[in-house]
């Protein structure tokens, strides 16, 4: 059973790699997208109904397309960026594409909770929109954003199991391919346990950071 453990180790690294890199890019795109959704909304600091509507529809398209189809749909993009559409690195592209709209909604929800009084105070002091976003909206919503990021990260772990279809590998894929499809229950249980531990750690870090950042 040397195989089992080396397989689990490889898969763990693959999962960490895929979700880690994907999470970084998801934050990179999802955060601004969520911010845009909030500030361009009616009553926002940079009202732009048309842009808001358009972004909303794009996000909804991303959110409603099944992940397997998304994987196929973005494969030209993946090939453009990574050179091929299969493999662990290639899986990151559809993961990001799937997670960004989700993250945008989570960010939107978090920012909506920032009191209007604080935004007013910032505006009254002559802040630019950029300053309102970076110095008030995001810092004030930080605990909620951190919780949302944990939510997104765990969702990514879930999606990454499906990325096995395009050779993404990872724990979820191992659990499905070997455990579920080939009835190697030991492989399945071990990989699931590692997955649960991984998610537990992510959630724990998220909760701790959120509490640390809460000053209310």
């Amino acid at each position: 059973m040397v195989d089992l453990w080396s397989m689990i180790l490889t898969a763990t690294i693959e999962t960490l790699y895929m979700t880690g890199v994907a999470a970084a890019f998801t934050l990179l795109f999802g955060l601004p997208l969520g911010v845009l959704l909030v500030i361009t909304d009616r009553g926002g600091i940079w009202e732009a109904p048309l842009l808001n509507r358009t972004l909303g529809v794009l996000v909804n398209i991303g959110r409603s397309t099944p992940f397997v189809i998304l994987m196929v749909a973005v494969s030209p993009l993946t090939r453009l960026l990574i050179g091929r559409s299969i493999g662990t690195t290639a899986a990151i592209v559809p993961l990001v594409v799937a997670a960004v709209p989700f993250m945008a909604r989570v960010v939107e929800q978090a920012l909506h909770e920032v009191g209007s009084g604080l935004i007013e105070a910032a505006l009254a002091m002559g802040s630019s929109n950029w300053q309102v976003v970076t110095k008030v909206l995001l810092p004030e919503a930080l605990p909620s954003l951190v919780r949302g990021t944990a939510l997104m990260l765990v969702n990514l772990v879930g999606y990454s199991a499906m990325a096995g279809a395009i050779g993404g590998g990872g724990l979820g894929d191992v659990a499905v391919k070997w455990g579920y499809n080939r009835y190697q229950l030991d492989v399945m249980y071990v990989s699931l346990v590692v997955l649960v531990v991984m998610v537990q750690v992510m959630q724990w870090i998220g909760d701790s950071l959120a509490n640390r950042f809460t000053h209310k």
Binding site: E120, A121, L123, M125, G126, S128, Q131, H215, K216
Partner: protein, 332 residues
């Protein structure tokens, strides 16, 4: 500095309309400390929020420093706002920033560099007595401490105009006095114009040059503090002095209860004393105060005169000649 022209603000929500301001025209000269008074819900906060356009007027014009503020471009508005400090009724401190971080905020916005910010923040926290709380978060502060952070934040960038919505309501009398002294000093030294809302007559007495009084969204009175206080029946006078009637005072038979009011000069003479000596009457101060308002002594006393009716009459006439305008309230 500020000129409001026919300002009207109507709130529409859930089909209900609230006319918070109705046709208010107001002029606040540069360098003045200008008080806005009025009952709860009279529209004071709404008015002050129109000045920096936190609230967009339904109609009317808002001129600040020679420019119509509703017509500024976003960039111009930001620049204009950077020169106006604002102290909020509900403080509106940033929960995620420490006390020092809150005070630093407007300086960051104005693009000050790090070291200047640090020293300016330290200076202001010293002024409001919160140096030891620099690293505390708003949630760890008492009500008055929060309010002082709000004051420090508004003053930090050295604004030309300060909009203050009850800046001392949560402060004890001592702290209030020192904050008011600070405002007076900045006003004198740097020519800061201050538009302040207050419910505390102490504040009006100590720092205001002029006041405007709102009632149900309308401007009902406006003028210099002394001028308004000197005017019988003015609203300001009503606000300053509660009616004398709730005293449980029993007049002596033949006594005359009269309200005396005197400003400035007449206050500096021994009026009561002269009357007692000249007219063979006794004068007992039942209630009232002689105090400094806007730098001048103002007295308002309820006095019972006893003695022969003729003498009392003569005394009252003498007082009237001396500009005290006695008003007979009751005869025993």
């Amino acid at each position: 500095m500020i000129e409001l022209k026919a300002l009207t603000k109507v709130f529409r929500q859930n089909g209900q309309e609230t006319e918070a301001l109705r046709n208010v025209s107001l002029h606040v000269p540069r360098g003045q400390i200008f008080g806005i008074l009025g009952q709860s819900g009279a529209g004071k906060s709404t008015l002050i929020r129109c000045v920096n356009l936190l609230e967009r007027p339904t109609s009317g014009e808002v001129w600040v420093d020679g420019r119509e503020i509703t017509r500024l471009s976003p960039a111009e508005l930001r620049a204009a706002r950077q020169e106006m400090g604002m102290i909020f009724q509900q403080f509106n401190l940033f929960d995620s920033r420490t006390v020092a971080g809150n005070v630093a905020y407007p300086l960051e916005v104005a693009g000050w560099d790090r070291s200047r910010i640090a020293s300016r923040v330290a200076e202001l926290l010293e002024l409001v007595g919160l140096s030891d709380k620099a690293h505390a978060y708003p949630a760890q502060l008492s009500g008055g401490q929060k309010q002082r952070v709000g004051i420090a934040r508004a003053l930090a960038p050295g604004p030309k105009l300060l909009l203050s919505d009850e800046a001392t309501s949560a402060l004890d009398p001592d702290t209030t006095r020192s904050v008011l002294a600070l405002l007076r000093e900045i006003n004198r030294k740097l020519g800061l114009t201050i538009l302040l809302i207050t419910h505390q007559m102490e504040v009006v007495k100590q720092v205001c040059d002029s006041v405007a009084i709102l009632e149900g969204g309308r401007l009902v009175e406006q003028g210099g503090v002394l001028e308004l206080i000197g005017r019988p029946g003015s609203r300001l006078r009503q606000l300053f002095y509660e009616p004398f009637r709730d005293t449980a005072f029993h007049l002596h038979p033949g006594g005359v209860l009269a309200a005396l009011f005197f400003v400035g000069d007449s206050a500096d003479e021994p009026l009561i004393s002269s009357v007692v000596r000249q007219f063979q009457v006794d004068a007992n101060i039942v209630q009232g105060a002689v105090e400094r308002i806007a730098g001048t002594t103002v007295g308002r006393l309820l006095v019972e005169f006893t003695g022969r009716p003729d003498d009392i009459q003569a005394a009252l006439e003498y007082l009237a000649r001396r500009g005290v305008s006695p008003e007979v309230i009751e005869r025993g």
